[in-house]
């Protein structure tokens, strides 16, 4: 069934058929990409510290 037959009350862009289409890829500069990777690496490092602390607390 299409929208007219169903009496669908959704706005432009809300149908599943539309939201399943991918949005365009963003252009990210090398500087921003490096910053994101650095932040990711830092978060992983500190997470490993928290996990190590947890294991040492348990043991």
């Amino acid at each position: 069934m299409n929208q007219d037959e169903q009496g669908i009350h959704l706005e432009h862009g809300q149908l599943v058929t539309e939201t399943s289409l991918p949005v365009p890829r963003a252009a990210v500069s090398a500087f921003v990409a490096s910053g994101l990777w650095a932040l990711r690496a830092f978060a992983v490092l500190v997470s490993l510290m928290v996990i190590y602390t947890f294991i040492s607390q348990v043991s």
Partner: protein
């Protein structure tokens, strides 16, 4: 509508209510969402303001009150038991103000793009970032869910009920909430549960705090002193008690699932603000209740040790206070189980590129429903393991979330600022400035505790 990855062909939503020009196929999910939206259109058309508010609130309140979960309320109570009324009383509302800044962006992104956070990160910035985000979320959610089941267990232990009852109750609630196969029904079940977060305010009233001391504490004094590592732990866990990765995934995806549009931005902001205010009030309530234990060796009650808080409160302030606090812990754990399982399921479905909506049937959204239940089952199983370090898990759940939060926040701000995605609804510079300050603060708190604790654990300091 032809598939396109050309940026010029993609435009943010925001057209007046009307069907799209092209006749597109309609799914069951669309039909269910449309039924809900019809009520909204009618209420708006008839100028029924209260009905419109009732229809549109939900994701914001659930994100904020879901964040007042078991570990969070225990963190707040521990702040009170350790430091009394002082710095943390105004600090908690400041944290919820921070949470409002972040969550409002999530709601706005969903209203404009009709897509969840996981979907947008994956498509806009690449699969690696999308899957990293989902992996962070799954890890922190699993750890936090264990803590939620522990919270229910601690609350039930006050009534001499065991782990089996806690597990059964939590899992039964998850299955029951999914049984309607409608987002609206799931949301209203969760909101009904969220009302009982107010039990912590009742507990605060029952301990009969000094109004003068509460007013005095609004000036952030006395500042917390004592052991630096303990203070850092409480700071990091208090920050993690207020803003976490799952809230970002949840509110954006739930807002999209609910069908929020740009016409609903005002109500979405009200929903988020109301959640923040209620969350702050109830969180401070838990702190005030915990502060009643300050002069009764409250600092010795560590986390969930032996169902410490409800029993101690009953001893100090009477059985009513202990009972209410215990019931509050059960509610806090139960609501968080629903919202955290939902956020996990949304993330799993979005990153896998499959149907991820409560408005879909289990047959059409098998991965979504399976993830929703499976993560609860795994967490429930952990608390049944004899000798499992539940106290340590509960204590570190919020800290881990705090540490991993900055990455999610950065992507959220990038999405909210993206004019190609958000059009006229993109972040202003002032919003970005505040958001960057929030990210820096959260990152510092998490990193400070993580590094300090590691150095102590390895005996490099202290």
């Amino acid at each position: 509508m032809a598939a396109s990855t050309n940026q010029a062909d993609f435009r943010p939503a925001g057209l007046p209510v009307a069907v799209a020009p092209a006749q597109l196929p309609v799914t069951r999910e669309d039909a269910r969402r449309s039924d809900d939206r019809l009520h909204v259109h009618r209420a708006r058309g008839q100028n029924r303001r209260w009905l419109l508010l009732w229809l549109l609130v939900g994701p914001g309140i659930l994100a904020m009150l879901g964040e007042n979960d078991g570990p969070s309320m225990i963190s707040y109570a521990a702040d009170g038991a350790q430091y009394g009324l002082g710095f943390f009383v105004p600090f908690i509302p400041v944290l919820f103000a921070m949470a409002y800044i972040c969550q409002e962006m999530c709601m706005r992104i969903a209203a404009v793009t009709h897509r969840g956070y996981g979907t947008l990160v994956l498509q806009r910035y690449g699969r690696a970032w999308g899957w990293f985000g989902a992996a962070d979320l799954t890890l922190t959610n699993l750890v936090t869910l264990v803590a939620e089941f522990v919270s229910i267990r601690v609350g039930l232990a006050y009534f001499h009920l065991g782990s089996g009852v806690a597990v059964t109750l939590g899992l039964a609630l998850v299955v029951f909430s999914l049984s309607g196969k409608r987002y609206w029904r799931w949301e209203r079940i969760a909101l009904g549960l969220a009302v009982f977060n107010g039990l912590f305010l009742l507990a605060a009233i029952l301990v009969r705090p000094s109004p003068g001391a509460i007013v005095h504490s609004l000036s952030f004094v006395p500042l917390p002193g004592g052991n630096v590592n303990t203070l850092l732990l409480l700071l990091a866990s208090t920050v993690g008690a207020t803003v976490t990765p799952w809230m970002i995934f949840f509110q954006q995806s739930a807002s999209a699932d609910k069908g929020i549009t740009v016409r609903d931005l005002k109500h979405g902001r009200f929903d988020t603000a109301a959640g923040a205010v209620l969350g702050a009030v109830f969180g401070v309530g838990a702190l005030i209740a915990g502060a009643a234990l300050l002069t009764h060796h409250g600092s010795g009650i560590q986390g969930f040790a032996g169902a410490g808080f409800p029993g101690a409160l009953a001893h100090v302030a009477g059985s009513a206070a202990g009972t209410v606090f215990a019931l509050g812990l059960i509610e806090a754990g139960a609501l968080a189980i629903l919202t955290i399982c939902a956020s996990t399921a949304y993330a799993a479905g979005e990153c896998a590129g499959v149907s991820h909506s409560f408005n879909s049937s289990p047959g059409n959204a098998a991965a979504f429903y399976t993830a929703n239940i499976a993560v609860a089952v795994v967490a429930a199983g952990v608390i049944l393991i004899p000798g499992a370090p539940l106290l340590s898990i509960a204590l570190n759940a919020n800290v881990l979330a705090t540490v991993l939060l900055p990455v999610s926040l950065v992507f959220m701000v990038m999405l909210a600022s993206d004019k190609g995605l958000m059009g006229q609804h993109a972040n202003k510079r002032s919003t970005n400035a505040i958001a960057i300050t929030v990210i820096a603060f959260v990152g510092l708190c998490g990193a400070a505790y993580g590094i300090d604790s590691f150095l102590q654990a390895t005996r490099l300091i202290g």
